[in-house]
Structure formats: structure tokens, C-alpha cells
């Protein structure tokens, strides 16, 4: 599953539903919802990917959260080679980690006691802070955070992050204000 789906949160969502006795449809639906965040990420990435539709579809498969965030240049463009490289490293470590967990997971102890669950939010925060250059991006980040937080208790996992992308639509109407300022 790690080899062909390669999206941790969706894998966990689907497996936990199967483990709880849920059906095939419910498991796939949960994974789809969890991965729906790749839709806005793919749209953001699209102008930076050249080639035929088939090539772009293949290149789009390399998107995962961390490499998407790293390849973002901050001006609406993405460094696609950086994206491919960062994803390749993660793909290999993800497969290695899955194999270690499957064959020796009991020997490792509790990852929470080691504080490993703080890695991803800390990493994303470190990438977020330099993005907050102007009032507009600060406002959008705040709005995205509030939307996501408000939806956590209400919506199924995955939906809060997807909904937060709506905050980026502020880019549509504030364009005029920025043009006058610049």
C-alpha cells in the first residue's frame, strides 16, 4: 500500500476504517477526502509543470505535503526538479519505514514518547513563518488556520485542511489594492 498509494494520512484513514469493520466504499471515501487537499496543491503546481497532459499527470503524482511545501518559491511558481527530488527521498524512506514497522514495529516502542509526532507540524511551521511577509499572507494564514480548527470537531479528517484552501481566494479581490500599493 505504501508503494502505490504513497499518502500516509489517507493510508491510515482507510486502514483504520477497515480495522473498525467499515466497508470498502467507506474506506476509499475516507482516503479520497483525506487526499482531496492534493487538488488545490496540484492546481497551484500546474503552471510550473510543462509537457503533454500525460506527462503532467505523471509529474503530478510526485506531490506530497512536505515536498510541495519545499518546492514552493513563494511567488506562485514551483521548482519542479526540487519537488521530484524531495519526493524521491521521501518515497524511499517511506517504504523503508513501512517495512521496518511491519517486521519490527513491536521492538521500537511508542513513537509519541519520543516526540516524533511533533516533527511534521514543526516542519510546516518553519516553512510557514517565512511565507508571512505581508499583511495579506498573514491574514490568509490566520483565516486558513481558523477554518481548519473550526472544522476539526465537525468534519471528517482531511476536510479541514481542504476547506482551509478557500482562504487563498482572498488573492482574487485584493489584487487591485496591491496594484495601487505597488
Amino acid at each position: 500500500m505504501s508503494a502505490i498509494v504513497f499518502a500516509g494520512s489517507a493510508q491510515f484513514a482507510a486502514i483504520s476504517i477497515v480495522a473498525a469493520g467499515g466497508g470498502v466504499g467507506a474506506a476509499i471515501g475516507a482516503a479520497a477526502l483525506m487526499n482531496a487537499r492534493f487538488l488545490p496543491m496540484g492546481i497551484a503546481l500546474a503552471p510550473s509543470l510543462p509537457g503533454s497532459p500525460l506527462r503532467r499527470a505523471a509529474q503530478g503524482q510526485t506531490v506530497v505535503d512536505a515536498s510541495w511545501a519545499l518546492a514552493n518559491r513563494g511567488d506562485g511558481r514551483f521548482d519542479r526538479h526540487f519537488l521530484f527530488g524531495a519526493s524521491a527521498v521521501q518515497y524511499v524512506t517511506w517504504l523503508t519505514g513501512t517495512a521496518i514497522g511491519a517486521f519490527g514495529g513491536d521492538a521500537l516502542g511508542d513513537p509519541r514518547a519520543l516526540g516524533l509526532d511533533a516533527i511534521f507540524p514543526a516542519f510546516f511551521l518553519a516553512l510557514l513563518l517565512p511565507e508571512l511577509r505581508d499583511a495579506r499572507s498573514r491574514g490568509v494564514a490566520l483565516a486558513g488556520a481558523l477554518i481548519a480548527l473550526a472544522l476539526v470537531p465537525l468534519a471528517p479528517p482531511g476536510a479541514p485542511v481542504l476547506a482551509a484552501s478557500v482562504a487563498a481566494l482572498a488573492g482574487l479581490k485584493r489584487r487591485h489594492a496591491r496594484a495601487t500599493a505597488a
Binding site: A27, I28, G51, G60, I147, S165, A170
Partner: protein, 103 residues
Amino acid sequence: MSGELWAVIAGCAAVTFAIKAAGPVTLGGRDLPPRFSGVIALMAPALLAAFVVTQALADGERLHVGADTAGVAAAGVVVWRGGSVLPAVAVAVAVTAGLRALG
């Protein structure tokens, strides 16, 4: 593995492929109108902020402040004071593990 589990895996793979391909196939390889690229530039702060809060301030489907929240906040201080990504992540892990060891 049972057939049902393989059906879930195949379904997840197909759905994930379609989601990841949709944006690049429909919009790829050409420059978009300026209004649209303004939205794209703001995707990063919106999504990154959502990642941070849903992982640091929530546990599954409920809001939850814990040792990892403090660890992530410490990482924020490191970055804010000019530190780079790796030291920030290391501080987050150390603070989180330290707090859990204490309490």
C-alpha cells in the same frame, strides 16, 4: 491478505492518482491570468497554517493541546529568532519528548 483489503488498496491508489493528476492535466504548462496566480501564491500560507494547527492543536477529530503543542511553539520561536528548519524541528522533538517524560 483478503480480497477486500486489496480492493481498498486498489481503490485508494486509483482515487489518489486521479486527484493528483487533475490540477496538472487541466491547468498545466501555461501561465494563468494574474488574478489566478495571486490565489495560487496564497495557497501555501493557507494550507501550511491548516497543517500546523490541525496537527499541533488537534488529536484526530477533537481539539487537543498537549506536549506536542508546546514543542511546535518552541520550534516557532527558533524560526522567529532566525533559526533554520532542522534545528527548529529538533527543538520541537526534544521539548515534546521531554515534557512527556516528565508528565
